[in-house]
């Protein structure tokens, strides 16, 4: 479904991705792990089409089509979904208006008629329950005044509304307490399907206890340095990145933070 070949990308002239190769088939769940600054989020942003990042060489195809040629909204309409690490707050645009515009843009692209307000509300209410968000959130500005956990649940809610082909989850577990992590993981697991691929970017193994990946890749200094099955994540948990010869100054500090948050 998704084929990444020798992908190089830079931001403000600094090369972050230095030759990524990755094949993802429909139905698979892949996890990308790695220390901070290894390029995990950059990969997610490049796939979604953030033009703050410049692709300098390499290719990405989805269903055989050149993904990099397409504008961000076209990628989204073709089924690429990015759950943001830091979802943006947009006061003045209600969640409802935002999601309805989004859902209808997708439907329009597929040649389907727009959803009317009543149909949309029904769907939105159901799914907001699924991710444990009070439907009253729908009337507020997009992510406006949401807690970190609420923002992440809102991202998963959007994924469930839009039913993408490729769901990219960027650090979706960060900032979540254990209950919220469960809700979010249940949401992601509900997305698992034969015709859908999921790419999870995460610093910690703990998300993978809830969402069990088929493949785990370790990203370091802009390259995938090791790939394996789920056991690779457990091994990383036990032995740290140093075992692979990777420097990770922040692991100790961030682990401590994550533990205290729990």
């Amino acid at each position: 479904m998704l084929s990444i070949k020798n992908l190089h990308a830079s931001v403000e002239g600094k090369e972050i991705l230095k030759g990524i190769n990755l094949e993802i088939k429909a139905g698979e769940v892949h996890a990308i792990m790695g220390p901070n600054g290894s390029g995990k989020s950059t990969l997610a942003q490049v796939l979604a089409g953030n033009d703050a990042f410049e692709v300098t060489s390499g290719s990405v195809t989805m269903h055989g089509e050149d993904l990099l040629e397409k504008a961000t909204e076209e990628r989204a309409r073709d089924g690429v979904f990015l759950a943001f690490q830091y979802p943006v707050e947009i006061p003045g645009v209600s969640n409802l208006q935002f999601m309805r515009t989004s859902v209808n843009a997708m439907r329009h692209h597929r040649g389907e008629s727009e959803m009317n307000a009543a149909e949309f509300m029904k769907l939105a209410r159901e799914i907001s329950k699924q991710v444990d968000l009070d439907p009253a959130f729908l009337k507020r500005g997009v992510n406006e005044g949401f807690s970190g956990g609420e923002k992440k649940r809102n991202e998963i809610m959007q994924a469930l509304m839009l039913q993408p082909k490729l769901a990219i989850l960027d650090e979706t577990d960060s900032g979540l307490d254990i209950d919220a992590l469960k809700v979010v993981s249940d949401g992601v697991n509900a997305l698992r399907a034969e015709d859908r691929a999921i790419l999870m970017v995460t610093h910690y193994q703990r998300l993978l206890d809830h969402i069990v990946p088929d493949f785990v890749h370790v990203l370091a200094e802009g390259k995938i340095v090791k790939s394996g099955g789920r056991e690779l994540a457990l091994e990383l948990e036990e032995r740290g990145y140093a075992w692979l010869g990777i420097k990770d100054d922040e692991t100790a500090a961030s682990s401590a933070l994550s533990n205290s948050a729990n």
Binding site: E73, A76, P87, L162
Partner: protein
């Protein structure tokens, strides 16, 4: 076109129409005489600093446009309406109820005694030195409208005043309205400035409101004139004890647009709320100057203005709050936010606070920014087209103010014009 002279051309001091009662003719003459040496504003004139270059009056524009034979488009408006065509109220094109406690009269229909009383009150809400062109309106009005609400009178629906100029020839229009809201009376007055025709015209309008104790007045002002209309308008308000004035000004740019809004809170516990939205595009201009005078204690003012400038257009906001020594326990809030949609657009904003009382709450804030790139990316990453994402975010900037417009028909009119603005502003996105 020859450049405007440094003094207001004498061609602009020739009023049309002699059908007014003697006291008003006398007032007009007196004001005209006082303007003989009125200097035209330059960039060195502080309150015209950013706008003087847009003011291009020629002698061809000095003559009052004829009203006779024009019907205008006011009758298409549902509900109560008054048609002003080329600055003069046209009864045949107006429809409003004949009420005992709300009198709607042309200046020309007043008795000498009534006219004499009115002549004393005209201009009383505006400071002639600060609002130079209000005096010109008084020197030139051909006829005007006075609306008098007796104590406790309530107009059950909004009254629309459609100010139309028919620019089939060059010329000018001087619409004048005086609203006297008696004790505990209530009215919603919608003023819509529109134009037809293509010739260069000048509109110089003045609307005044005096609110007696407990009166409640809402004024919605839409400036929708064409690219051939230079418009300098002023709204003056005086408020007595516990009265409330609410204003919603929505302005679309033009070659020159200037609106001075002055509110004097003269009675204890008076309250005003001033909302403003301005959008400009192309090479358009719009300048809002507001002044709130807290004269009496315990008064509240809340002011929220938003400007959006696209292309190479230019918007100006100058908001002054003046808290007088006796105005203890004043509560004043002013917020002005500005959005630049292109690198060629310009917005100048200047909040001015003068506070002479010590026990007051007074806050102000002004910002200028662009659409947030991260927000745009977030929207398009959900399949929303880039054009629509721009519209959503721009609309988000003014949504709150548009939603507060208390008359649905006006809200619809504004939204339609905004959509036209978005179509043009984002056509190349």
């Amino acid at each position: 076109m020859k450049p405007a002279p440094s003094l207001l051309s004498s061609a602009f001091l020739q009023p049309a129409g002699q059908a007014l009662p003697a006291p008003l003719l006398a007032l007009r003459k007196q004001r005209g005489a006082a303007l003989v040496d009125m200097p035209m504003p330059t960039r060195k004139t502080e309150n015209w600093k950013y706008s003087s270059k847009y003011l291009k009056l020629t002698d061809e524009m000095a003559t009052s446009l004829p009203t006779a034979g024009k019907t205008g488009s006011a009758l298409a408006v549902p509900g109560y309406k008054v048609a002003f065509i080329n600055g003069v109220m046209v009864p045949e094109a107006s429809e409003y109820p004949d009420l005992n406690d709300i009198l709607i009269q042309r200046f020309s229909d007043l008795s000498d005694a009534e006219a004499s009383e009115l002549a004393e009150r005209l201009d009383s809400t505006l400071d002639a030195k600060a609002v130079q062109f209000a005096g010109l309106n008084t020197a030139r009005f051909e006829d005007g409208l006075v609306i008098r609400l007796k104590p406790d009178a309530v107009l059950d629906q909004p009254l629309f005043i459609i100010h139309e100029v028919t620019a089939d020839a060059s010329g000018s229009a001087f619409p004048r309205i005086f609203v006297e809201a008696g004790r505990n009376s209530q009215i919603t007055l919608v003023e819509e400035f529109i134009s037809s025709g293509q010739e260069a015209v000048f509109v110089n309008s003045v609307t005044e409101f005096t609110l007696a104790e407990g009166a409640n007045v809402t004024n919605i002002r839409l400036s929708m004139g064409g690219e051939n209309v230079q418009h300098i308008g002023a709204t003056g308000v005086t408020q007595q004890r516990s009265s409330r004035f609410e204003s919603h000004c929505v302005g679309f740019g033009g070659p020159l647009r200037r609106h001075d809004l002055r509110v004097r809170l003269e009675g204890k516990g008076a309250e005003c709320k001033l909302n403003g939205v301005v959008v400009t595009q192309g090479t358009q201009h719009y300048d809002n100057h507001t002044t709130i005078e807290h004269v009496a204690p315990n008064c509240d003012s809340e002011e929220t203005y938003r400007n959006i400038a696209a292309d190479k257009s230019h918007a100006v906001f100058n908001g002054r709050i003046h808290i007088h020594p006796d105005a203890q326990k004043s509560n004043a809030n002013m917020s002005n936010k500005n959005l630049l949609l292109s690198t060629g657009a310009e917005i100048d904003t200047k909040p001015e606070l003068e506070i002479y009382a010590d026990d007051v709450k007074c806050a102000h804030g002004a910002t200028i920014g662009q659409l947030d790139k991260e927000s745009l990316f977030y929207l398009v990453s959900r399949g929303i087209g880039i054009r629509e994402a721009n519209v959503l975010l721009t609309m988000a900037f003014i949504n709150e103010l548009v939603a507060q417009i208390p008359v649905d028909a006006v809200k619809d009119t504004v939204q339609i014009r905004l959509n036209q603005f978005f179509d043009q502003a984002f056509q190349e996105v």
